[in-house]
Homo-oligomer: 339 residues x 2
DNA sequence: CTGTTAGCGCATTCAG
DNA sequence: CTGAATGCGCTAACAG
């Protein structure tokens, strides 16, 4: 690889100073049009592109944001990431993608790395509720927003759905379909979002005078394989639930997988409801009943707010905390229970 | 935000020079252990983290690679991205994710941006077969590898499956299941990979003495909605195919969606086979018959080779061109055709 | 309107 | 084994 062409080379060729080159690169308005053109043609002829690294060092801005998420293969995350990266491109930002596999150790490591890379801001889509690094950054005034994640403490910006209500909607739906034995794939309560869903689930049960069967509750890690095994095992018991509420569509898919593996048909013998409304849920071959999260809107909002924090980080008086409303979409995987 | 702590601050606190701090940061071996400790504790106490931007400028390495792909919501890409990012983290590289939505304009823009950001290398997972920028970069000796993408010309490194054979396997399978009317969701021939699959498809047809019905071929963009509409329309005709071969599982899903929408049951009335073997294909609720790509292996290889190019880019004598073998996995969406 | 100058925070010679 | 000096390629005052 031959040596890079610098702004000095361009300056020399155009017969101007390097700072003039810098000015045209930055669209400085008060310039003689002829010199701008001279520089522009020199840039063209040399095939010059500016070194963003040097630019970042000098300007203290990288126009890069970090996006940390739990699992990019979960459509909820990839669909969100798609919106965020598109929007970012429109706003002239790049995104560094970090996949934690739901491990807090990875999360902290990635935060560290991203800070080292001097990103202008960070979006975190899977944060443990008591993570200290996030709190520290927030308190320092660093632009950081949680996407569908909430902290125990109030030291954070977040944009999320009303998870409590979402869970209630799910239980209501199942109850009205005559289900009394509901298995709940909750996920670990180290996330506030799942914690809130758990609360919503329990309160809804109470409301309908239903008792909770601890054996029907899965509260371990978000792992497709583990949930699959859990569901399969449950479905093989004498006394088994008539329905499942999974706190993500991905996990609902694992339940469907398990049901198919033991020959239980959905929705005739088992109802399944998810959470997220991933694109696949709409697929009529599957038709997953689920709770919508307004992903697109959430993702757009998150990026807009983040860029807002980055570009005018004066008034960080109150945290940004937005909660959107979920909705139930009934499709083919839930049906009326007939004993 | 208070001012950053620099290596000078650390140096001062430790009573050494900045270059010494730099040495411990870079694990320079020939140092007095006591000074190293002094520096280390100073770093600890100050909570110093080095500025990777400055480091990059000085060292001319960013330890960042660009990953350009067509659509992160297509599981084939997100599953590949997951492997690549994990592997990258292990090798101490970061990845900037770029989503082109299959537009060459975006592709070129992203390549430009990434070069500006001084990434050490680029992986491209959706490249138009005659893209000039890729050729230029390759010819300059810049580390760049195509992932499951091939160029018309030979100026490129790539790692891909034998797409030609994959398509043949699919047709063979369908043929042995008595299907004679096969619709093929090909995708645009601007990609060599799809072009090769098209060839494989046609040759297999010839081999079995089958005629190709042009109306059964979809050769436009990879768009879920368009494929859905195409398939739905076809399935509503008097004369309709008895089977579909889709050149990605994502598109196969669109076909299943369309079939469900018109009440055609799979595999009784219609067989569907995909390509990629995304995780979801294994889901027994769906059970998509498909052609495997050894994603994991391909992704690992790609990153290893790329890092190889980056870190020892002396012997770039011959291009890296690796072709892996696909395999057919028969599941539930294909069955024997009974007229 | 444009040139000069001084950093940005490190890595990297070169001395010692 | 360690310090001083220089520069990576650009931005951002400050002059003029």
């Amino acid at each position: 690889m031959k040596d890079r062409i610098s702004a000095y080379d361009v300056a020399e060729k155009a017969g101007v100073s390097q700072s003039t080159v810098s000015r045209v690169l930055n669209n400085y308005p008060f310039m003689k049009e002829t010199t701008r053109q001279k520089v522009l043609t020199a840039i063209e002829e040399l095939g010059f592109t500016r070194d963003e690294i040097a630019r970042s060092l000098a300007s203290k801005k990288t126009r890069t944001i970090g996006l940390i998420l739990g699992d990019i293969t979960n459509p909820f995350f990839s669909e969100s990431a798609k919106v965020i990266t598109r929007k970012a491109q429109e706003m002239d930002y790049n995104v560094i993608l970090c996949n934690t596999n739901h491990s807090e150790e990875n999360l902290n490591k990635y935060i560290q790395t991203l800070m080292g890379k001097r990103v202008d801001g960070i979006i975190i889509a899977s944060a443990d509720k008591d993570n200290q690094k996030i709190k520290e950054l927030y308190d320092k005034g660093f632009p950081i927003i949680l996407y569908n994640s909430i902290m125990e403490h109030d030291h954070a910006n977040y944009i999320a759905v009303n998870n409590y209500k979402g869970a209630q909607l799910a239980v209501e739906h199942l109850y009205h379909f005559n289900h009394r034995e509901i298995s709940y794939i909750a996920g670990p309560s180290k996330y506030v979002t799942t914690h809130l869903r758990n609360l919503g689930f329990k309160d809804a049960l109470d409301k309908f005078g239903l008792k909770m069967n601890e054996k029907f509750i899965y509260d371990r890690e978000f792992s497709y394989d583990e949930v699959y095994l859990f569901a399969k095992n449950l479905l093989n018991q004498q006394i088994r639930p008539t329905s499942f509420f999974a706190s993500s569509d991905q996990m609902a898919l694992a339940v469907l997988d398990a049901a198919a593996s033991v020959g239980i048909s959905v929705p005739d013998q088992l109802s399944v409801i998810g959470f997220d409304d991933i694109d696949l849920a709409k697929n009529q071959f599957i038709g997953l009943t689920t709770i919508t999260q307004p992903k697109e809107k959430m993702a757009m909002l998150t990026l807009e707010k983040l860029v807002g924090l980055i570009e005018e980080k004066e008034h960080v008086d109150a945290p940004i905390q937005i909660v959107l409303e979920p909705e139930l979409i009934s499709r083919k995987t839930t049906g009326i229970y007939k004993p």
